[in-house]
């Protein structure tokens, strides 16, 4: 309970004393109409991958809720830690392997060549199965807001000197920030322009596939 109150007090302190809060409100007011369209049927209310959208947000939000309510539910730091790490592992895996591809058509991974060099690959797809505009908004909002919330928790636990929770928050931030960074690089790579000679490239890939 004390941790929840700490969070609340620090939030109120910053609201009263920081002009940045005004700008945050402006950003949120721009985003709220989009959030409104998520829940009201209108022109943009289409879901091509409802399960992917749900699970994209589910594990992240539940992890944050568990962190805030942990002390009411169970007295044990250990079980809270293990539960949050488990939820965030599921979230990391599902966002990296499933929801990114389905909702926005982006994919990233690391592969090692034969000579042992490490290669990071970022892919963009323009295929037919990509999610709608609504789902893309859900994806990016979920991807960006949750690491920001965990960063906020980092500062609250740091300033309230609850150091053992700090290790949990650092682990959570590393999970969330890894996916955010990977998808931002995919997005940046996609906007640098598409290759004009795709025919020869895909032709070679087609030969590769045929010969497999």
């Amino acid at each position: 309970m004390y941790r929840f109150l700490d969070t609340l007090y620090i939030l109120i302190y910053y609201i009263q004393n920081h002009f940045l809060f005004i700008e945050l409100c402006q950003v949120l007011s721009h985003m709220l109409p989009s959030a409104y369209t998520l829940f009201h049927p209108g022109q943009n209310w289409r879901f091509q991958h409802p399960f992917a959208s749900f699970f994209h947000l589910f594990f992240r939000v539940v992890a944050i809720v568990v962190y805030l309510l942990c002390e009411w539910v169970s007295k044990s730091f250990t079980s809270c830690f293990v539960l949050i790490i488990t939820l965030l592992s599921f979230d990391f895996w599902s966002v990296k392997n499933v929801t990114g591809r389905l909702l926005v058509g982006l994919r990233w991974w690391n592969q090692i060549d034969e000579d042992g060099k490490s290669l990071w690959v970022f892919e963009t797809s323009r295929g037919q199965n990509i999610g709608t505009e609504t789902e893309a908004r859900i994806f990016w909002l979920g991807l960006i807001i949750c690491p920001l919330i965990w960063t906020f928790f980092f500062f609250t636990s740091l300033f309230s000197l609850k150091i053992k929770w700090l290790s949990l928050v650092v682990a959570s931030i590393s999970f969330q920030a890894a996916n955010l960074y990977g998808y931002l690089r995919c997005k940046a790579g996609g906007q640098e322009g598409q290759p004009p000679h795709t025919s020869s490239f895909t032709g070679q890939r087609f030969l590769q596939r045929v010969s497999d």
């Binding site: 991958h49 399960f51 992917a52 007295k75 044990s76 730091f77 250990t78 830690f81 293990v82 790490i85 592992s89 895996w93 392997n97 499933v98 591809r101 389905l102 994919r107 991974w109 690391n110 592969q111 090692i112 060549d113 042992g116 060099k117 490490s118 290669l119 990071w120 690959v121 970022f122 892919e123 963009t124 797809s125 323009r126 295929g127 037919q128 199965n129 053992k164 290790s167 949990l168 682990a171 690089r185 790579g189 996609g190 640098e192 322009g193 598409q194 290759p195 004009p196 000679h197 795709t198 020869s200 490239f201 895909t202 070679q204 890939r205 590769q208 596939r209 497999d212």
Partner: protein, 235 residues
């Protein structure tokens, strides 16, 4: 098929990003060769997820099989491609959590929730692995950052097994005999861990630097082994 529409930008760790693949003729010295000669694994990825249900299960099973495969490779440590080529950090995470849970409930806890001890294990394992990896990279190792973390994490498995054995032994008795048994088990598993990880890590170093790389690994597993050996359950 969907893979027709995938466009790809790739980055090696040493090169700066190039603007798409707009000019194939530039590709002589940039490793587009590694890009075009696509390993079978990624063409398999292209065919996945045409439907949501089945391929998710397949991907989960594939990842689980990869993790299990690596555990088996730790049991027979020889330089194989499994731990190095397809690195993943799920195994180390699982081992770290298991080890931290097993180290709970000790007499050293002054906090009834076992909090500091749990977070300590996490910090020691991950921070220690990162430091060793940085050390080996600064000494000019060819192994990549995540590969090294993967190897060090998976090689904690013998010490986790030793922890399970120690807890079982401590259920029986806490005397000198049990201490001798635990000492033997922990020393054996510590030697096994160090040997397994140096089999992978030392190969990536020039010969005159091998001792400099092995020493921190030795220290790392020594600290973990010490935590395992000095664990005593609270009465």
């Amino acid at each position: 098929p969907d893979w027709f529409h995938w466009t790809r930008t790739s980055f090696t760790e040493a090169s700066r990003p190039f603007a798409g693949l707009s000019d194939v003729s530039i590709s002589e010295d940039i490793p587009v060769e590694g890009d075009i000669s696509v390993p079978v694994g990624s063409s398999r990825r292209d065919e996945e997820f045409s439907t949501l249900d089945e391929p998710v299960k397949e991907t989960i099973l594939r990842d689980l099989r990869a993790v299990g495969n690596k555990f088996i490779h730790v049991l027979y440590p020889k330089r194989s491609s499994a731990l190095l080529r397809d690195w993943d950090l799920w195994g180390p995470l699982l081992l770290c959590v298991t080890l931290a849970l097993l180290l709970q409930g000790g007499a050293a806890d002054n906090d009834d929730q076992g909090g500091p001890q749990f977070a300590e294990v996490f910090v020691i394992v991950w921070f220690g692995s990162i430091i060793i990896t940085l050390n080996s990279k600064l000494l000019g190792g060819t192994i990549s950052f995540f590969q090294s973390l993967c190897v060090l994490g998976y090689c904690i498995m013998p010490l986790t097994v030793a922890m399970i054995v120690c807890r079982l032994v401590l259920l029986g008795s806490s005397g000198t005999v049990s201490f001798a048994v635990r000492l033997i088990v922990v020393t054996a598993s510590f030697g096994w861990s160090t040997f397994a990880s140096t089999a992978f890590l030392a190969d990536s170093q020039p010969p005159n630097r091998k001792a400099l790389v092995v020493y921190p690994v030795f220290l790392f597993y020594f600290v973990i082994g010490w935590m395992v050996l000095t664990f005593s359950p609270s009465q």
